[in-house]
């Protein structure tokens, strides 16, 4: 089967972001989605440190370290963008004004619970940042992740074992092997990579999966 590359995953997520959407792309992998948004679409990127209408990275040497994103990388601002303080910025998120938030994850449950902020390992310094606000604030929360850990364990699970970021907040999971809808009714497979079967996907994940347009598969 053809595992998707990270860039392919980013391109796949970008397809589902419609013109006019207000979007927050989380730190790490989701940041890549910006590279695949069609230039002809007006899509508004928000960064929770206080900017809306975020543009691409500046050319090397042109960085302004007072114009950064939440990952503390230098960015630019599009014409029509704006700056605001942290309370207004999180009001955008928590008040339900963002359409889509794309986040990475350690685990997502078939019911949409998210674990992405802390491994819970003893001695690990906990750090949450805006993760919990992002998870529960947007109208739709998408997760982008490899479906399996390096050890082959599924990150789509029945019940998260890592500390939770938010309950029932994820609506869709884009992974390197398949795209799933998750929610109160459980997980549904929307797409799979070529060469993968629903039976194989059930075996890999160990969770009950419905198949879009078909009856429940396992």
């Amino acid at each position: 089967m053809n595992r998707m590359t990270r860039d392919q995953m980013a391109a796949r997520v970008a397809q589902d972001i419609p013109e006019g959407a207000y979007v927050n792309l989380g730190i790490g992998l989701p940041t890549k989605v910006a590279n695949y948004l069609p230039q002809e679409r007006d899509i508004f990127l928000q960064s929770e440190n206080g900017l809306l209408g975020m543009g691409p990275a500046p050319a090397a040497g042109d960085e302004d370290w007072e114009l950064i994103n939440a990952g503390k990388q230098a960015v630019t601002l599009l014409a029509g963008g704006s700056f605001f303080h942290h309370a207004d910025s999180f009001a955008m998120m928590r008040g339900g004004h963002l359409d889509i938030c794309v986040l990475g994850a350690f685990q997502v449950s078939v019911h949409g619970d998210l674990a992405n902020w802390h491994t819970g390992e003893p001695g690990a310094i906990p750090a949450v940042g805006g993760a919990m606000d992002l998870a529960i604030g947007a109208k739709q929360t998408f997760v982008m992740m490899d479906l399996l850990t390096k050890q082959g364990t599924s990150k789509l699970v029945d019940v998260c074992t890592y500390p939770l970021t938010g309950l029932g907040c994820v609506s869709r999971v884009y992974s390197d092997l398949a795209v799933f809808d998750v929610g109160p009714g459980g997980a549904t497979v929307i797409e799979m990579v070529e060469g993968l079967t629903i039976e194989e996907l059930c075996r890999l994940t160990g969770v009950r999966l419905a198949h879009a347009g078909e009856t429940e598969a396992a």
Binding site: E19, G20, Y22, E40, D42, F44, Q46, L51, L52, G53, L77, A79, G80, G81, S82, F83, F84, A87, D88, F90, A91, M92, M93, R94, G95, G96, H97, L98, G137
Partner: protein
């Protein structure tokens, strides 16, 4: 290309239906979106819940909505003014419901809605009849009343300038409730003195970022007038 600008006020308010809740900006006449309200009256919808600081002055704006019997309920802080005779008559005739809210609670509850809070403990009104029946709590030796967010289906506001992405700047004390109502309504409709090119509003001085605004209509207004004495 996203262009939130609308042809005219009628098009801007065309989605407002009977029974809608509608925030209306303005403090007295400053910031009152008169032309949007006129368009709403012309649209003929009724049974509205209106959220405004006042309950109409003279004949225009909110007063006209009340005169035309389109308002089922008004949430406001100061309905009694020398020229609020249309509210006065409707209220005495039992034709309009009034929810009286202290002005700071009104602002805080609108802001809480925009920010996604579930409720707030507010200092204003404790021990008064406007807190009767409400949950109270002593926190760090001070008394507070639990108040809930005020949100709305629509907000009609007035700004000085806007662009096609909905970014707004205001003028002087006409700013008042505009920025917080824009954040608390599902659909915010702004009448602006002029629509400018994208990028011509300095990103540092945008007061209402476009995410909070769904429709913009350019209306070269006559100057704001005084309240009748």
């Amino acid at each position: 290309m996203i262009d939130k600008s609308m042809r005219d006020a009628a098009a801007a308010v065309a989605e407002i239906q009977d029974g809608a809740s509608v925030m209306i900006g303005g403090f007295g006449t400053a910031g009152m979106p008169d032309q949007l309200i006129d368009a709403l009256i012309d649209r003929g919808v009724g049974d509205l819940t209106i959220i405004n600081n006042n309950a109409g002055n003279g004949e225009a704006g909110v007063a006209a909505l009340i005169r035309e019997e389109r308002v089922r309920k008004i949430i406001c802080s100061f309905p009694r003014q020398s020229d609020s005779h249309h509210f006065d008559a409707a209220w005495r005739a039992g034709k309009i419901e009034l929810e009286l809210v202290p002005q700071g609670n009104l602002a805080a509850r609108i802001q809480a809605a925009g920010a996604g809070l579930g409720a707030i403990f507010t200092p204003t009104g404790y021990g008064t009849e406007l807190a009767q029946g409400k949950e109270v709590r002593e926190i760090d030796g001070k008394h507070y009343v639990l108040e809930y967010p005020i949100r709305a289906d629509f907000a009609l506001i007035k700004a000085q300038q806007g662009d096609r992405w909905g970014n707004l700047v205001y003028r002087k004390t006409a700013r008042n409730f505009g920025p917080i109502m824009a954040m608390a309504a599902a659909t915010t409709i702004a009448q602006v003195g002029n629509i400018v090119e994208l990028g011509s509003i300095d990103p540092e001085v945008v007061v209402t970022p476009g995410i909070f605004v769904q429709r913009v209509v350019e209306i070269a207004s006559a100057n704001t007038h005084a309240l009748a004495a």
